[in-house]
């Protein structure tokens, strides 16, 4: 046991020395002025709005259609059917429809704009450590055979697959979405109707969305039928009733075709929630009892429908791992290799998929270009010793900084 004691640096006393080296570098001072947020260098195929508060998949194609259909159908219902029904029946009808409509829209927006449980990609050090544990004697250009790791979960053997894009062994129930190019925890499916993946963090929003939408479509369908029936019974006949209220036909058609699929989907996901399964596992038959003689049971199930539903839908809300609105640490430049440092074998490959490797940034602003230029200039200007000091200072100062920056994450849970 080493008898040396290291006195921890007080980060506050060391902030001033760091100003001296940076002030001599005109390019680096530009970096200090504008701190970039992590969403700007996010490697997955996502789009961000409101300075990283909102995240959607790059292909959000059908989401406008979904929203449009809901808004138009509900709008027509409130404008053309509700006045008649309020006059002839009860005022509760638009109230109930209004509540359902609010639930549908908010849960849809939550599903679409929430981080589904994206796992950040492994940093070079972590990836190199994993590589060391796997015996790889191939050259850097040869892609090794798929790597798997077997673990025991509740006495059940589970295979963890290695993700070549994210450079890590995927945790159980995690899958890589090829559309978003992200590993998502408890991956259910990528839903084009909401324009996002459905995973651990937004499954409950998705479930609320489809259940409330099935109630809303059924309710509107029933109310429109009632409306037309009451009009027809008034003596004018069904054709006249339709002529008096043509919008009702539009609503009927939309609701009729939606009800089958939405109700079916709600039922299916209720079954999944009650069994603590994901769509991905169900489709692949991961825990199907038909697999040979071995008894493949779902190791994640609590063997109680009520408990499973509560856990899946009402469990603790996990945090977002990608910290979109956090600031990039100032040392987030391509790793500077000193003579003493051993280059991890990974860095010789094209590490364009690593988080924090600004050389690969899908540039959306011109500031990306300027920061790329300055980061390439800095290794030649910093002496080794100052660099070593800075890197240690940043590590220890990070403790305080991260705590302050984390307040962004905690105030805005997405």
């Amino acid at each position: 046991m080493k008898n040396c004691e290291y006195q921890q640096i007080d980060p506050r006393t060391l902030t001033t020395p760091t100003a001296t080296p940076t002030s001599t570098l005109p390019l680096a001072s530009k970096n200090v002025q504008r701190q970039r947020r992590k969403w700007e260098v996010f490697p997955g195929r996502n789009r961000f709005f409101c300075d990283g508060r909102i995240i959607v998949a790059r292909q959000s194609g059908v989401l406008p259609l979904t929203l449009g259909l809901i808004l138009i159908t509900s709008g027509l219902f409130f404008i053309f059917d509700c006045p008649f029904l309020v006059a002839h029946l009860t005022v509760c009808i638009p109230v109930i429809a209004g509540v359902l409509f609010v639930f549908v829209v908010f849960s849809l927006l939550h599903t679409s704009f929430t981080d589904p449980g994206i796992l950040p990609r492994a940093l070079p050090d972590e990836a190199a450590d994993i590589e060391k544990q796997i015996d790889n004697s191939g050259s850097s250009t040869y892609r090794p055979p798929p790597r798997t790791k077997e673990i025991l979960i509740n006495d059940q053997v589970v295979k963890l697959k290695y993700c070549f894009t994210c450079k890590m062994f995927r945790p159980p129930r995690t899958s890589h979405c090829s559309l978003c190019d992200n590993c998502v925890e408890r991956f259910d499916h990528h839903c084009p109707w909401v324009g996002n993946c459905v995973g651990k963090r937004n499954y409950r929003f998705f479930y609320t969305f489809i259940v409330s939408l099935s109630f809303l479509t059924s309710f509107i369908f029933g109310c429109v039928i009632t409306h037309l029936t009451l009009r027809a019974q008034g003596g004018s006949g069904i054709l006249n009733a339709v002529q008096q209220s043509p919008a009702s036909i539009v609503e009927l058609v939309v609701c009729f075709f939606s009800i089958w699929s939405i109700l079916g989907l709600s039922g299916f996901h209720t079954y999944l929630a009650a069994s603590n399964l994901t769509t991905n596992e169900d489709i692949k038959g991961s825990w199907s009892s038909k697999r040979g003689l071995e008894d493949y049971k779902n190791p994640y199930s609590y063997n109680n429908i009520f408990t499973n539903c509560c856990v899946v839908l009402c469990g603790p809300m996990p945090p977002s791992m990608i910290d979109r609105r956090g600031f990039l640490p100032p040392e987030d430049t391509p790793p500077i290799i000193t003579a003493e440092q051993e280059l991890p074998p990974f860095l010789s490959k094209n590490d364009t998929n690593m988080v924090g490797a600004p050389s690969r940034v899908t540039c959306r602003t011109s500031t990306c270009q300027s920061s790329k230029g300055s980061s390439q200039a800095s290794p030649q200007l910093f002496p080794d010793q100052t660099l070593a000091i800075l890197s240690f200072v940043m590590e220890t100062a990070k403790l305080t900084d991260i705590f302050c920056h984390r307040s962004h994450r905690f105030m805005l849970p997405y």
Binding site: K2, C4, Y6, D125, I151, G315, P316, F410
Partner: protein, 158 residues
């Protein structure tokens, strides 16, 4: 007690990041957040096993508390559902409160135990809750190599 006392501020020119140790997740009880308590060999000469295990066990307990399924989490979930999840925009969830506690605990551990031994723990939330990253810093003046901490035991005075 300490025979040698290095002031890091004086020896900054010789500090270097020698190695990083990654404590992986323990999935034996499912997908709940839990880290392996196996003591890595790279830390054998740097820190007592009991201190390391205490840290990891305390972290595991914190995560278990955050992910605990019980009355409070159900209440929070049901309340959120009834408000169409708008409550998440204004309220801090229990998980987030526990994560703040974890940040404070790791900072305290770093200050009191790990930094004096030339180690630094990174909060798992910064690594996607996949690993606990422990950075090992070496005093270049005593070791002259970055191949591992074990080589320093022969060169430094005991």
């Amino acid at each position: 007690m300490a025979t040698e006392f290095h002031n890091l501020q004086e020896l900054r020119h010789s500090a270097s990041l020698a190695n990083k140790v990654f404590i992986q997740r323990d999935y034996t009880e499912g997908t709940i957040c839990r880290f392996q308590t196996k003591f890595p060999s790279e830390l054998e000469s740097r820190i007592e096993r009991s201190l390391f295990e205490d840290t990891v066990k305390t972290l595991n307990n914190y995560y278990a508390e955050a992910e605990k399924i019980g009355g409070q989490s159900y209440l929070e979930g049901c309340l959120a559902c009834t408000t169409a999840y708008l409550i998440f925009l204004c309220m801090e969830t229990r998980y987030e409160k526990v994560l703040k506690k974890i940040s404070r605990y790791i900072q305290e551990q770093n200050e009191k135990i790990y930094a004096p031994r030339g180690l630094l723990i990174t909060d798992p939330i910064d690594r996607g809750m996949r690993v606990i990253e422990i950075s090992i810093y070496e005093d270049r003046g005593s070791s002259g190599s970055s191949s591992g901490s074990s080589s320093t035991t022969s060169s430094s005075g005991r």
